[in-house]
């Protein structure tokens, strides 16, 4: 009993550390990637004892700056709720990571340990529910600020997030029809086989339209450019106008956590999670014939690396999109959500149902 509690605790700590470190690293990636694709160099001055390391210390410098800023609460805001809002949006995104499987189960000291904090049997619903609850952080943040512009910003944000949640949910219905379970570990296991003998049986090949709708709706859910209607950092006034210092930093950090979460979900649901094409428990079995034996421990390492690599790729892709596209107009955001993504999601469900029935 005690051992099990300990194992879960270690897994929680490891998952949280992985997520937070990756988010911290992503702030650096965002600066550097945007710089590189705009022919610039980007932050490279932060140094420790003269060691610059491509500006890798920049996130820590930023964190120290945020920590030492004045924790300012405007006199007209509601103090408790003003504190609660960033904490809530941070918590509901961070807690979602517990459902994500990082690798296949490993055997250690005669125990079967899944590389996943909790293997919920309705993990997909849990993730969607937590994403919806994140909306409260925005709403409360705007409301507690006591600033009318912040309130309007938070209403914009709530409208956008709720609209896109519809599309997000619809895009996953097709996936649920194809896959046998809502359990994320089962979904990943199911994607281990092959289609037509050579194509890995990943969600993207079974549900291409579903993936497109899911990823676009997910981009809107992260509320970063081109969907940064709630914040509108540079022009329109957003819901965290009255926030500064660490509380603002928490909101920004939540955005990066959402980027990681969307990447992890896209990987888990549509890109085979920790699966590597043609790699089974014993090693590679190539479709053109031929096998390659891999030791069991190496298989686990490869699988965890594969998951990380896929997550990195999607983080990179999202940052690329964020620095490529200008912001949508508000009516365009609503049109895109309700008139394009929702109908496409319904079409996807119907098509999936027809194909499943015809089979």
């Amino acid at each position: 009993m005690l051992a099990e509690v300990l194992i879960v605790l270690v897994k929680v700590v490891l998952t949280l550390t992985w997520t937070l470190l990756l988010a911290l690293f992503l702030t650096w990636v965002e600066r550097k990637e945007s710089a590189v694709l705009q022919d610039r160099i980007g932050a490279n001055r932060a140094s420790v004892f003269g060691l610059r390391a491509f500006g890798l210390f920049q996130p820590f410098a930023d964190a120290i700056k945020m920590l030492f800023k004045e924790d300012f609460t405007p006199s007209f805001s509601q103090r408790l709720l003003h504190w609660l809002a960033p904490a809530m949006s941070f918590f509901f995104v961070a807690v979602t990571m517990v459902a994500v499987p990082f690798g296949d189960a490993v055997r250690l000291f005669g125990r079967r340990i899944p590389l996943q904090v909790v293997d919920l049997n309705a993990a997909l619903l849990f993730v969607l529910a937590m994403l919806s609850l994140g909306t409260y952080g925005i709403l409360i943040g705007g409301w507690a600020s006591g600033n009318r512009f912040a309130l309007i910003g938070s209403l914009r944000g709530a409208a956008q997030l709720i609209s896109y949640e519809v599309a997000l949910g619809l895009s996953l219905v097709g996936l649920i029809m194809v896959f046998p379970s809502l359990r994320l570990s089962k979904i990943v296991e199911f994607q281990g086989g092959t289609l037509f003998g050579f194509l890995p049986k990943w969600g993207i090949f079974l549900q291409p339209l579903g993936f497109a709708v899911f990823f676009l709706a997910g981009l809107a859910e992260t509320k970063r450019a081109p969907f940064d209607m709630p914040e509108g950092e540079s022009e329109i006034i957003g819901f965290y106008t009255e926030y500064g210092g660490l509380k603002f930093g928490l909101f920004m950090f939540t955005d990066f956590l959402e980027v990681i979460l969307l990447s992890a979900l896209a990987t888990t649901l549509f890109f085979g999670g920790w699966q590597i094409p043609w790699l089974g428990a014993g090693g590679f079995v190539f479709p053109w014939g031929g096998t390659l034996k891999v030791a069991p421990w190496a298989v686990t390492v490869f699988q965890v690396l594969s998951f990380n690599l896929k997550v990195f790729f999607f983080c990179w892709l999202q940052i690329l999109f964020r620095w490529t596209y200008p912001r949508f107009r508000y009516d365009q955001v609503m049109d895109f959500g309700w008139k394009v993504l929702v109908p496409l999601g319904v079409v996807n469900i119907l098509a999936t149902g027809l194909i499943l029935a015809a089979r």
Partner: protein, 155 residues
């Protein structure tokens, strides 16, 4: 609906352009990291304090007051620069010169960089070519305002 597909195509094209920039620039950055010299660089950035851009010959930087061949200031304190200065940042104090050919010289020639807008009118107004803005000095900063009131006659 057709228009929507056109938009999608253009969106993908945009992402392809930024991605191309990313990978091309990353290639050059990586080559540089491994010490390979290439004609092109990964970034157009000039890392300012270490690298400096060559200033154009017409660039207007910090003023200087020129002197004659015998070392005396060239300025005859005619006050034309003080008159023409739109920011009123120049102050010149005249003094009598022993040389009857010259009659006046500037005992004090102070430029207040807090006010100067670097228009260069003083240079154009000067009848004896005594003031120029060609020192190439662009790091003009001080910790207090008084530090930016530069007495140029001593230079």
């Amino acid at each position: 609906m057709f228009k929507g597909w056109l938009v999608l195509k253009e969106l993908l094209r945009g992402a392809a352009i930024t991605a191309r920039h990313f990978f091309v620039n990353m290639t050059f950055h990586t080559l540089k990291l491994f010490g390979v010299r290439t004609k092109r660089r990964g970034a157009v950035t000039i890392q300012y304090p270490e690298e400096r851009k060559e200033l154009s010959p017409r660039h207007r930087s910090l003023h200087r007051v020129l002197s004659r061949e015998d070392g005396k200031p060239r300025c005859v304190a005619c006050m034309l620069c003080v008159t023409v200065c739109p920011s009123e940042c120049l102050s010149v104090e005249a003094a009598e010169d022993d040389d009857p050919e010259v009659q006046k010289y500037a005992a004090r020639f102070v430029v207040d960089l807090n006010r100067c807008c670097f228009c260069g009118f003083c240079v154009e107004a000067c009848p004896v070519d005594a003031i120029r803005m060609d020192t190439g000095e662009i790091r003009l900063a001080a910790e207090a305002r008084a530090g930016l009131e530069l007495p140029l006659e001593k230079r």
